[in-house]
């Protein structure tokens, strides 16, 4: 009878090779799946949401105008190009996601023009959040903060990050919990 308990490559191949084979099989199974090719298109178009990889005629005008300021054409192209333009939009979204005023004060005092701002959390809970956040840095909840940053990094590729705020809720939940526990229970 075959001994299925010994049916593994552990004794045949070193750990690194086994890991490499696993990754290759995983990639193959993704690429070989026809659904993946549809998914790729979805990613490129941002799942139907606007992404930062668009540039209007105003944006192009601004780039060309700024390129003319430089003493050297090459320097102009290095500092003012589509990549720097997209990067600036990305940064705008990323830092918007890090702004406490966005969550607690409806973006006051720097409301965005043309947008209806909403208070996501009641401002009175800000001290609770801060106690929770600073306590979590000292304890073992650091991983939650890192996951938040990772999620925000992905969400920042989309123009309206307001649509994705719910994805960041575990971070808020953990820090509010730690804050409440610190203040009222410990």
């Amino acid at each position: 009878m075959l001994d299925f308990g010994r049916c593994n490559l552990k004794h045949l191949l070193p750990r690194r090779i086994r890991f490499l084979i696993f990754i290759l099989l995983l990639l193959f199974s993704i690429i070989a799946n026809p659904l993946f090719w549809n998914f790729r298109q979805e990613i490129a178009t941002g799942f139907g949401f606007d992404t930062i990889f668009t540039i209007t005629s105003e944006g192009i005008y601004q780039l060309n105008t700024r390129r003319s300021y430089y003493p050297n054409q090459l320097l102009g192209k290095i500092f003012e190009n589509k990549l720097t333009f997209y990067l600036d939009k990305y940064r705008k979204n990323f830092f918007q996601g890090l702004d406490l005023n966005y969550y607690f004060f409806a973006n006051h005092p720097r409301e965005r023009t043309g947008m209806t701002e909403k208070e996501i959390f009641f401002w009175f809970w800000l001290p609770v959040f801060l106690v929770g956040f600073l306590s979590s840095l000292r304890k073992s909840f650091l991983i939650t903060n890192l996951i938040f940053l990772g999620s925000l990094s992905i969400v920042s590729f989309f123009v309206k990050i307001d649509n994705f705020i719910l994805l960041l809720s575990p971070f808020w939940a953990v820090n509010f919990y730690v804050g409440l526990k610190q203040i009222f229970m410990e």
Binding site: F79, F105, L137
Partner: protein, 549 residues
């Protein structure tokens, strides 16, 4: 030791280059407040009086904003040495910004004796940060205020660590000087002195304790005596009117609740939190275009990572207690700015640059201890060059091309043209009435002549929060154009293309005398000579025609 000295001198050299290179043309032009500081300083150096004739005032009335005196008095030295020009008036700011490197190094070394790298990193960061470089290049009071605040804090640390009275007395004098440097420091300096002393004095030996408390009290008395003139004038209507115009406590509109105290509390919470927001610190610059660099906030965006790591390290590490108490500076610095209406005032919150730079340095130091030397050198050099590249782009390329109008560019060339061509009578169109100071500055108008021409009631010197919207001195008249009479006087009319269009110039028989162009090649100021004889003749002709008809 030699290596440390070489490093700190190299950082100082870098700071000097970033602050003094093209100081006269970056920022472009000379802002009205800079011109006001420069001219008042020139007046003090020449006559001992300000532009209104007040002898050695405690606050300088200027545009009714009552500028703090220290920068103006100290600027008399470079103005005497180099003459009245853009370089001499900005010199003090650039110098104090450069010398601040040494103060920061010794202060951080004192606060964090176990973290030697943090002192060097803090000095390096403060040498290259957009916030410090930009403010060091303006003839405004903030940089000098921060320099004296940090120097006072350094002396304060020395005083707390020893028992010598002279350190305490020097501390009192330095905090007093700081209070006279800028409006923000007027509140922060005494507060820092008291809070820092109380927090650090408590736990010492009984005998030492008594001596330290005695020294502290003597220093406090000296500080109160030196602040006497300031305290006396704090109750004047001028000072109160200024504060009222800046704060939001009496605003009646746009409050989310009917309950005023709750609404004001929420407003203050939002304003205070804004000064710690990574968005404002690392991405979105001050919304006022005159107070910020294009596309660059007060810190570089990549610094958000070491900032968060620094915050984490600060909370986790077994830092010396004095080092831990440094967080008080972090919390106190934006307090005065958070009471004003401006969303993120880089001028008023300038003291915040120090504690944040130290936290970022702590973060970088933590990262350095975890990565290999090769990666460290590559990452460090890349970050350094990348930051300098961004600073160069914003400061030397974008600022002079996009924000020259916010810096009142053009007046130097204008006054030069007027003085060269020796026009007899000049009318400069100005609705606000502030450009008179630019004319005074660039024409180096003799303060004695100005004082004899301008008679001001000095009994209400500290009560007035406005300025004369119309000024007349020498050949200059600064006011709005009165079309019904000005076209009939033989004079040079200076105005922007918006104020006097080409069709208006044609209609009133003006002759174009000169144009002042901006860096973008467009005309920003026109100079027209009037033709009263032609205008009168034309009016007569029209009258005759209408009579005949």
């Amino acid at each position: 030791m030699k290596k440390e000295r070489f490093l700190i001198l190299a950082i100082f050299g870098l700071a000097v280059i970033l602050r003094f290179y093209k100081l006269t043309v970056i920022p472009p032009g000379l802002y009205v407040d800079e011109a006001a500081i420069g001219y008042n300083s020139y007046s003090i150096a020449s006559t001992g009086k300000d532009e209104y004739g007040k002898s050695f005032p405690v606050y300088f009335r200027s545009f009714g904003d009552y500028k703090m005196p220290l920068y103006i008095y100290l600027s008399a030295i470079p103005i005497k040495l180099f003459g009245l020009n853009v370089f001499s008036v900005r010199f003090l700011s650039a110098l104090s910004g450069s010398l601040m490197i040494f103060v920061v190094y010794f202060l951080v070394k004192n606060l964090f004796p176990k973290e030697k790298r943090v002192a060097f990193l803090s000095a390096l960061l403060l040498a290259i940060l957009p916030w410090t470089v930009f403010l060091s290049r303006m003839a405004l009071e903030m940089q000098l205020g921060l320099f004296f605040l940090l120097l006072a804090l350094l002396f304060h640390q020395k005083a707390l660590q020893g028992l010598r009275l002279r350190w305490w007395l020097s501390t009192g004098v330095l905090y007093a000087l700081t209070s006279y440097a800028y409006h923000t420091e007027k509140f922060i300096a005494p507060l820092t002195f008291v809070v820092w002393s109380l927090v650090n004095l408590k736990k010492t030996e009984k005998k030492e304790n008594f001596r330290q408390w005695k020294n502290f009290l003597l220093s406090a008395v000296l500080l109160m005596i030196l602040l006497g003139p300031q305290i006396r004038l704090s109750f004047s209507s001028g000072a109160n009117a200024r504060i009222s115009s800046l704060t939001y406590f009496k605003d009646r509109q746009n409050l989310p609740y009917n309950h005023r105290p709750l609404a004001v509390l929420r407003k203050w919470g939002a304003m205070y939190t804004a000064y710690f927001s990574p968005r404002n610190l690392f991405y979105d610059p001050d919304p006022d275009p005159q107070r910020s660099l294009p596309n660059l906030s007060v810190f570089y965006s990549w610094m958000v990572v070491p900032f968060l790591i620094g915050l984490y390290s600060f909370l986790k590490k077994e830092t010396d207690l004095i080092g831990k108490r440094f967080i008080l500076l972090f919390l106190v610095s934006p307090l005065p700015a958070s009471l004003t209406k401006d969303p993120f005032s880089t001028f008023r919150a300038f003291p915040l640059v120090f504690p944040i730079a130290v936290l970022i340095s702590l973060g970088i130091s933590t990262m350095m201890s975890r990565i290999s030397k090769g990666v460290l050198i590559i990452a460090g050099v890349s970050a350094f060059l990348f930051s300098l590249g961004l600073l160069w782009r914003s400061l030397f390329i974008l600022l002079p091309n996009e924000r020259f109008l916010d810096w009142d560019f053009g007046y130097e060339q204008l006054i030069q043209k007027i003085e060269e061509n020796n026009y007899q009578k000049v009318l400069i169109d100005d609705f606000l009435g502030t450009s008179y100071i630019e004319a005074l500055f660039f024409s180096k108008y003799n303060p004695r002549w100005l004082l004899s021409e301008r008679k001001t009631d000095l009994t209400k010197y500290y009560q007035l929060t406005d300025w004369q919207k119309e000024s007349v001195f020498g050949r200059y008249e600064i006011r709005p154009i009165y079309w019904e009479k000005d076209v009939y006087q033989k004079q040079l009319i200076v105005a922007s293309p918006l104020a006097v269009s080409e069709s208006q110039a044609k209609e009133h028989f003006f002759t174009k005398s000169f144009d002042i162009m901006g860096p973008d090649g467009k005309v920003i100021i026109n100079g027209y000579l009037t033709n009263p004889e032609l205008k009168i003749a034309n009016n007569e002709r029209k009258k005759n025609e209408s009579r005949n008809n």
